[in-house]
């Protein structure tokens, strides 16, 4: 009965350690694995564990976001991994020593910044005893959504003008980012579109026209007297000719 009566918060910590260990462990899996697809898979598991940490903290919206954006984004990485490693030569990636050194410097300095940030914050030095009810009351996504549409719930009660200006919320950055993404989307669609040759508007396809033209061209070479006249006439008609001779 003593074991049964162990309070829930300890088991909350247990799950925290579990998720954190999975996240770190699969992070090392990404580092040490040599197969691209397995790397992507470990990355998925690592990011999924991070989403678990968010859910554990009561931040359901952020957790679902983590699943949708990061894990879903890694899926695209996985697809590219599969597509690019269809040849056997690229399926295993060997990391050189200089790559390791460079990666350690970049990654290590970022880690240092994070560690200093985390341990430098006064608020985080002492454990905050937040009750379940407080977590329950603050975990709704509604204030976040309202802030994105221009209403900051948390600054509504502020009497000072300087803070109350925060009421405008994050509408402007939100719209800028949205338009930016839209432009990127349209740009990507434009780049990836099927490129058509300009004269391929008739009933015949461009490739068929090209073939036909080449065949005629060969025939014409046999008829030496008429060659110059006909070819010039054709090239006047068909812009493909210039490309052909280049």
């Amino acid at each position: 009965m003593d074991l049964i009566a162990v309070a829930w918060p300890y088991w909350h910590q247990f799950f925290f350690v579990l998720f954190a260990a999975t996240a770190i462990g699969f992070g090392f899996g990404v580092l040490l694995s040599k197969n691209v697809v397995r790397m992507a898979f470990y990355l998925v598991l690592s990011l999924g564990s991070t989403a678990g940490l968010f859910f554990l903290a009561g931040a359901e919206f952020v957790g679902a976001m983590q699943l949708m954006i990061y894990v879903g984004g890694t899926m695209v990485l996985l697809i590219f991994g599969v597509m690019l490693t269809a040849q056997k030569d690229f399926i295993n990636m060997d990391t050189h020593t200089q790559d390791w050194i460079l990666a350690t410097i970049v990654g290590g300095s970022l880690l240092m910044v994070l560690l200093f940030g985390a341990f430098g914050s006064e608020d985080w030095k002492t454990p905050q005893d937040i009750t379940d009810a407080e977590v329950q009351a603050t975990k709704e996504a509604t204030p976040l959504g309202l802030a994105l549409t221009g209403i900051r719930v948390d600054t509504l009660g502020e009497s000072t003008d300087a803070v109350a200006e925060g009421k405008s919320g994050y509408l402007m950055p939100f719209i800028i980012v949205s338009i930016h993404l839209l432009v990127v989307l349209i740009g990507a669609a434009y780049m990836a579109r099927t490129k058509k040759l300009s004269h391929a508007t008739d009933d015949k396809s461009s490739r068929a026209k090209l073939m036909l033209f080449k065949m005629e061209h060969e025939e014409e070479q046999l008829e030496e007297e008429q060659y110059v006249v006909t070819h010039r006439a054709k090239s006047a008609l068909n812009p493909l000719d210039s490309e052909n001779e280049d």
């Binding site: 009965m1 049964i4 009566a5 162990v6 309070a7 829930w8 918060p9 300890y10 088991w11 197969n35 697809v37 397995r38 898979f41 998925v44 359901e60 919206f61 957790g63 679902a64 976001m65 699943l67 949708m68 894990v71 879903g72 899926m75 695209v76 996985l78 697809i79 599969v82 597509m83 269809a86 009810a133 407080e134 329950q136 009351a137 603050t138 975990k139 709704e140 996504a141 509604t142 204030p143 976040l144 309202l146 549409t149 209403i151 719930v153 948390d154 600054t155 509504l156 009660g157 502020e158 009497s159």
Partner: protein, 452 residues
């Protein structure tokens, strides 16, 4: 639930009661997945048989061959579990479990009735979509790890298809979220209580359009015919699961059938009233008092044991059982519709699938979204206004937390104003006091909110 077990054993805030509560919920959901797959596979055989003028299974288990799936299951367990030589063994073995885990985990946030939900999430719609989106991992990993060209082709097709169909699917789901002003599935369902005219599908013509687009995209999203390119038998042997056998193979199908059910159930919650039937029998018989509607009753479970017993009277339980029955019935109807579509239409080519998505579904979903927004903005009469039926409003009242705080009243009034700007009021609001008491029973200080 956990508090109830705490109360039962006379312990306080113990891991034991949480474990028991979690196990009860998990086993119940497992029944939906496993028994659902059992039923749906039998249904698929019977329906395909009838559509093709055959009888389907007739012998196993007496009448109608209703034990056919069980016999198949025993056969599959007895089969040898083969791993091909060229396979990536670890990924090959783990792939089916990922798919099953994803479609199983999506049930966590799916409310079967008011208060009957694995975990009450504030952003349940988003969670279900995000977790269901992970299912495609299993297909890609299975296709890659099999070391077979058929599997790889199937996986690549699936990847292209699912990634494109998530766009119109998301746009369709946004419409009910926008009309209800919440991502909480329980609240969305409860806003459609009453007669069937309250269902969001009848809200305006654009939501009707959106519901149809949603169902099309959901069919494509769970990889069902006519969008089942990943397992096109005529071209790819069996697509991504060509190399699988035995129980691992059947796990893919359990995942497929349970995600079919979950998208149908989601459709019924978002557009077809969810646990509320076409005629509010529970309301008419007075089983479900109005103050128990809304997520308030679900919260009562979590608050304390007294709240649990208060919420657990026989009438409410009957109303909940009715609700669960309604939702499961609607889900099964949705699955049946998908089967009907599968056996009626020929399979699309990959370019046709892409055309369908990018040229038809995305623009139509956009039109539906803009139209529904305009309808709300212009405050045009909704479906239930035409028959003058009452409608319950369950907007999330985040201002409740502020009003408990003794800060200036002006801010509160301003807050209420700004809420009304954002959430377009309906023609015949009936905001009950109890319904707006959702989560904010604890006063939240304004400064605390700033840290979030």
């Amino acid at each position: 639930m956990a508090d109830f077990i705490d109360y039962l054993f006379g312990i306080d805030d113990s891991w034991f009661s949480y474990l028991v509560a979690a196990l009860v919920a998990a086993v119940l959901i497992l029944h939906v997945v496993a028994v659902g797959a059992l039923l749906f596979i039998w249904m698929e055989r019977k329906i395909s048989g009838r559509i093709q003028d055959r009888l389907g299974p007739t012998r196993v288990g007496g009448k109608f061959g209703w034990l056919q799936t069980l016999a198949d299951g025993i056969k599959l367990i007895a089969k040898e579990d083969i791993t091909p030589d060229l396979a990536d063994r670890f990924l090959f073995k783990i792939a089916p479990y990922i798919g099953l885990a994803a479609s199983y985990a999506a049930f966590i946030a799916l409310p079967f009735a008011d208060g009957v939900v694995g975990q009450h999430l504030n952003t349940a719609v988003f969670f279900v979509l995000a977790v269901l989106g992970l299912e495609v991992f299993s297909v890609i990993l299975a296709g890659y790890a099999s070391g077979s060209k058929w599997s790889l082709f199937g996986a690549m097709r699936e990847a292209a298809q699912v990634v494109s169909y998530e766009v119109p699917l998301g746009m369709c789901v946004v419409v009910p979220v926008m009309i209800c002003g919440t991502m909480n599935l329980t609240t969305i369902a409860n806003m459609q209580s009453g007669f069937f005219t309250n269902w969001l599908v009848f809200n305006d013509p654009f939501t009707f359009l959106t519901a149809i687009i949603y169902f099309t995209c959901a069919t494509a999203g769970v990889n069902r015919a006519p969008f089942d390119l990943a397992e096109a038998e005529s071209e790819l042997v069996a697509g991504f699961h060509t190399e699988y056998s035995g129980l691992r193979w059947s796990l893919f199908f359990m995942a497929e059938y349970s995600s079919m059910f979950i998208v149908s159930a989601l459709a019924s919650i978002l557009f077809f009233g969810g646990p509320h039937g076409p005629i509010p029998i529970a309301d008419i018989l007075g089983l479900l008092p109005t103050e128990n509607l809304g997520s308030g009753s679900a919260q009562a479970f979590n608050e304390n044991a007294d709240g649990f017993f208060a919420a657990m009277n026989v009438q409410v339980m009957i109303a909940r059982v009715l609700g669960v029955g309604n939702l499961i019935l609607k889900g099964v109807i949705g699955v049946t519709l998908m089967m009907w579509i599968r056996w009626s239409f020929p399979r699309l080519r990959i370019d046709q699938v892409m055309t369908m998505c990018l040229k038809y579904c995305v623009p139509l979903a956009a039109i539906g979204f803009i139209g529904a927004t305009a309808w709300q903005y212009l405050d045009l009469p909704t479906g239930n206004a035409l028959v003058d039926a009452p409608r319950y409003e369950h907007h999330e009242m985040w201002t409740d937390g502020l009003s408990k705080n003794e800060s200036d009243v002006e801010a509160e009034a301003e807050a209420v104003e700004s809420v009304e700007e954002v959430q377009t009021p309906h023609a015949n609001d009936k905001v009950t006091d109890a319904s707006s008491v959702t989560v904010k029973t604890v006063p939240v200080s304004v400064e605390k909110g700033g840290d979030q």
